[in-house]
Symmetry: C2
Subunit: 132 residues, 2 copies
Amino acid sequence: MEYIQSVQSVFDILVEPNRRAILSLLVSSQQSVGEIERRLHMPQPMVSKHLRVLRQAGFVESTVDAQRRLYRLKPEPFQEVDAWLAPFRRFWSAHLDALERHLDRMDAPTPPKQKTRKPRRPNGGRDKGAKK
Amino acid sequence: MEYIQSVQSVFDILVEPNRRAILSLLVSSQQSVGEIERRLHMPQPMVSKHLRVLRQAGFVESTVDAQRRLYRLKPEPFQEVDAWLAPFRRFWSAHLDALERHLDRMDAPTPPKQKTRKPRRPNGGRDKGAKK
DNA sequence: TCTGTATATACTCCACATGGCATATACGTG
DNA sequence: CACGTATATGCCATGTGGAGTATATACAGA
């Protein structure tokens, strides 16, 4: 049924604007195909087709509710993007740190900075939040 | 005349595997076109063309060193990806909390290998659909 | 079973980015 | 200036994927 597909990167999925729109819609809560269709003003077959791609790539999953299918996000592919981003994140946070130090010098008042140099910083306070 | 470019998303840039390979190469340090050419085993014109795309999209910048151009990363587009990811990060970290102890260990290290897909990830039930 | 609704799939057309090749430009050296 | 190296650009052919449309499947109710 859903099987063989050429190995595609998560980026092959995310490159399509409509798919990104769908994903953004699903952040808030699960949605039916019809709801997506209405909210994004796109023809139903297009919605279904993109949803299929998203499903096959593991970005979403669906459950059956009578005649409608409720789609919701799955986390793994997003984590994959995050993982890909990791090396670059190290790189750009170095830049940020440099800028930060520079600004700190010009700005006399003292923001409570304890570190003069930090090896790496995820992304300026990645919300590890929503903790248990 | 580097300017005008159709409004493309960062994903339009990142979708190209060779471009991602180039970016990964540049994480360690700046490289000349010839070095990229050799390391990635791709014809020089292709390297130059991809570099042009990357440059126009703000992913890289170059400086002149005699006859060669040294390319290095610029942080902004990556931050843009990170920003796009943010809402979903909130979403998936909620999931992570539920499974935290199990997922914690496979998280961090993604060796910046080139284009090899990430092998592990016990994602149960990622299907692979049929294509033409 | 027939009907309406909800979603999925099949198929065609077309644009466009990519790869390959040839060639142009830039720079340094003799 | 001529030549070699390093990089950029122009052109063409091709493949792939998305849009659009028609149609198929699934389910619920009368």
